[in-house]
Amino acid sequence: MAEVMAMETASRLGIDLSNVDWDSIHLPPGEDCGILSDDEDLNEGDPLEFDGGFSNIVVVDNIPIVPTEKFEKLEGVVRKISSQMGVIKEEGLWIPIDPASQKTLGYCFIEFNTPQEAELAKEKLHNYKLDRAHIWAVNMFDDIEKFMNVPDEWAPPETKPYVPGENLQHWLTDEKARDQFVIRSGSDTEVLWNDARHLKPDPVYKRQFWTESFVQWSPLGTYLATVHRQGAAVWGGASFNRLMRYSHPQVKLIDFSPGERFLVTYSSHEPSNPRDTHRVVLNIFDVRTGKVMRDFKGSADEFAVGGAVSGVSWPVFRWGGGKEDKYFARIGKSVISVYETDTFTLIDKKSIKVENVMDISWSPTDPILALFVPELGGGNQPARVSLIQIPGKEELRQKNLFSVSDCKMYWQSSGEYLAVKVDRYTKTKKSTYTGFELFRIKERDIPIEVLELENKNDKIIAFAWEPKGHRFAVIHGDSPKPDISFYSMRSTHNSGRVSKLTTLKGKQANALYWSPAGRFILLAGLKGFNGQLEFYNVDELETMATSEHFMATDIEWDPTGRYVATSVTSVHEMENGFNIWSFNGKLLYRILKDHFFQFLWRPRPPSFLSPEKEEEIAKNLKKYSKKYEAEDQDVSLLLSEQDREKRKMLKEEWERWVLEWKRFHEEEKSDRQWLRDGEASDEEEEYEAKEVEVEEFLDVSEEVLFDFGQE
């Protein structure tokens, strides 16, 4: 239509359309002739990247205004200062001169070799004090347009009418109290209900190419985050609408704060020239408003953890202080930088200096930071683990450790205990052995206890605290079949000592998965053990079930501890998909998906029930469960009924088909006989197996032995 109309208009105006060079026609910016572009949605909010190559040019304002005689000197100074930031292109420095006054205009342009260098110059030279009167203002050339568009007069911002948002907690209102999960396979990303009663997943939302690399739930389950070239986005509510976008080109990794108030995004920009620094960019967004709260830019080395190692360990920022998202910390070379989220600045405006700090770890609930410093000066200064209270920065407790090779810290989920796994050198320094230092955080003076395994040479394969509990499990041993021990921080005899509950000998396991509700643990043999599973009840110290999900790579409990998902992801070629098990090891259903990448349960926010109330419910479980059991039974009756119906239908359909075919078969009977030289051969297809019983009497003889009655 549009084409026809255009041609009519053209002929009226006397223009030959075939001679028009379409590429030379440029519409004024913003003019779309009323034709809406389809990709509006894609481009909106993305910073446009100019092909023109202005991104390596900066504009420097507030340089001295000098007459032509001094021009060379000025140029020399500017060049000297700015060339520290990078290589200035040949004729890349231009200081314009006012033709009227023959003086410089007080600004200049500098063209660097790469945009990265320009970026660096903008960062480092902005506010550079040349002298008291000349403080440089450095801006990217590409930003000029942005500044030009700033209106001269301030207009009060429009107050937008309040639009009630979607209920982001909608999934928690499910009548059947089911849990959701997200899976990614091939190009599809799907959110599903785990309908364990019906033994199948129930689809919620499905979308192709939803994300470009991975998806991630926020820690309380409110949002689902997707990652794209232009940045990250979060989705939520009943219909999985997009709630917010966070622009961050080439974002690689994302991390939510535990209370899901903030989102950290990370990208790394490998230099094209290996001599240039490898730069990383981190942005911290407010999840709800989408505003950048703070950005961090620098070379990758600055963000490398624990000193010399190159490369960034994720997450760079560790969130502390529980669900309030009050603090986050970053470890640097001999410093720990702790920021607070009210102002997004360092606490007390300075980092904590700790010589050679290797590792830090927040308490999951309290603003307490545990840190590990290795041995210094060839063993003259012992290694130490210390606990620091934030924001006061006072040391709560410290423990010196000798001949240490490595330390790992494990917090119990409610912040009551801290276990430090310490690898120590033996006397010969040729091998190491492992022990544990157990801190009781909530007790007075934080007592420390040392735990050593019975066989000191055992390697520790895995360690895990019972969530919210006081027990932990350790897999240890050198043999192909290691042992698993359970310990309790409380014991009936003397409450202040850790005690061993039991040791399971020779298990095919190398990973521990506690139920989020505690009490049950899944002992898994992944990788080399090919997916051995053992469901273990720690209260009763007995195995509930053993099973196998062949080649399983990932295991995750649902947030309520009712179900476990084991999955085989695309690291293996075959058998991709997932299994859903009940907590006691019964296989509920099995879904196969080729190219299976991710399985993630949707987390739940913590329960509003008080611990007392929870205990009461646990005690009177029989009373509460009655209602649900009745429902379960109804469902299973309905299911078997449906199943029967379906089977009947299929059978009937088949019978019909067979009957139809038999008719044809009958019609062709004579032809077939002719083909078989007249052999009446159709009977064989309907032959009957008759069972013929033949009884054969071999010999019958009657003998009268005695006749008692006659005497």
Binding site: M574, W654, V658, W661, H665, R672
Partner: protein, 318 residues
Amino acid sequence: MRPILMKGHERPLTFLKYNRDGDLLFSCAKDLSPTVWFADNGERLGTYRGHNGAVWCCDVSRDSMLLITGSADQTAKLWNVQTGAQLFTFNFDSPTRAVDFGVGDKLAVITTDPFMELPSAIHIKRISRDPSEQTGDSVLTLKGPQGRINRAVWGPLNKTIISAGEDAVIRIWDSETGKLLKESDKEIGHKKTITSLSKSADGSHFLTGSLDKSAKLWDTRSLSLIKTYVTERPVNAVAMSPLLDHVVLGGGQDASAVTTTDHRAGKFEAKFYDKVLQEEIGGVKVFQVAVKMAMSGCIISTKTTSISGFNSTVAMEV
């Protein structure tokens, strides 16, 4: 279930076939000698010597008198089942892959592989009752499908020929004119190489197994899809029970990949499905590779190949 182990072949098995009565089992292997066994006790009756290459396929006539075998030595041979005597040799220019007797055993279809720039082909030969009158002339030769034709069988009344192979398409040809009558739908059909094809006892439907991890049941006349059986692995062989509504799928990876993975990784399992309900009924774990199967009565035979070079046929009662 009582398995009978039949040891005799020195190289991997390629094909198994029961005779109509179900008392004889014919096995083909990559060694040169097709072998016949008593089905009920696994005793070896004899071998058919004369081929000079791997034997890919065989078929036995309705009266169990005549055996036809196709081999990589570019021949197909007719044998006297009873005496083991070679009756006739059909010579081709490329290895023969599949053989099948038509209704009445007076016609046979033989497929040849693509070889030295020769395309794959389907040949129809007339079989004489009297071996002395047998000639090697083809009644008809069909060409067209890309890649290897893994299986070709006769349709009802010898009017059609059904072929399937590497191009994942099932074709029905007119056996008199050589015209292509039907092709399986790309959408609903197999997505990868079809490895095996097996007709029902009455010829009304047939089952195809494919590397796309599924097996499909088709109507012989209309080529309409009746059922699909989905499994976790590439299907290497399929069979249907002549008595019960059961189908068996044999799967796993290629024999060449066996040595590189855990024997369970390939999960060489024979899986039983309910033909009508499409539900899995059970499975038999086979020691190494289950590739070829034939089913007669309540007995299935699975072919096993092990990496140690020990090859055996296992017959199992279900």
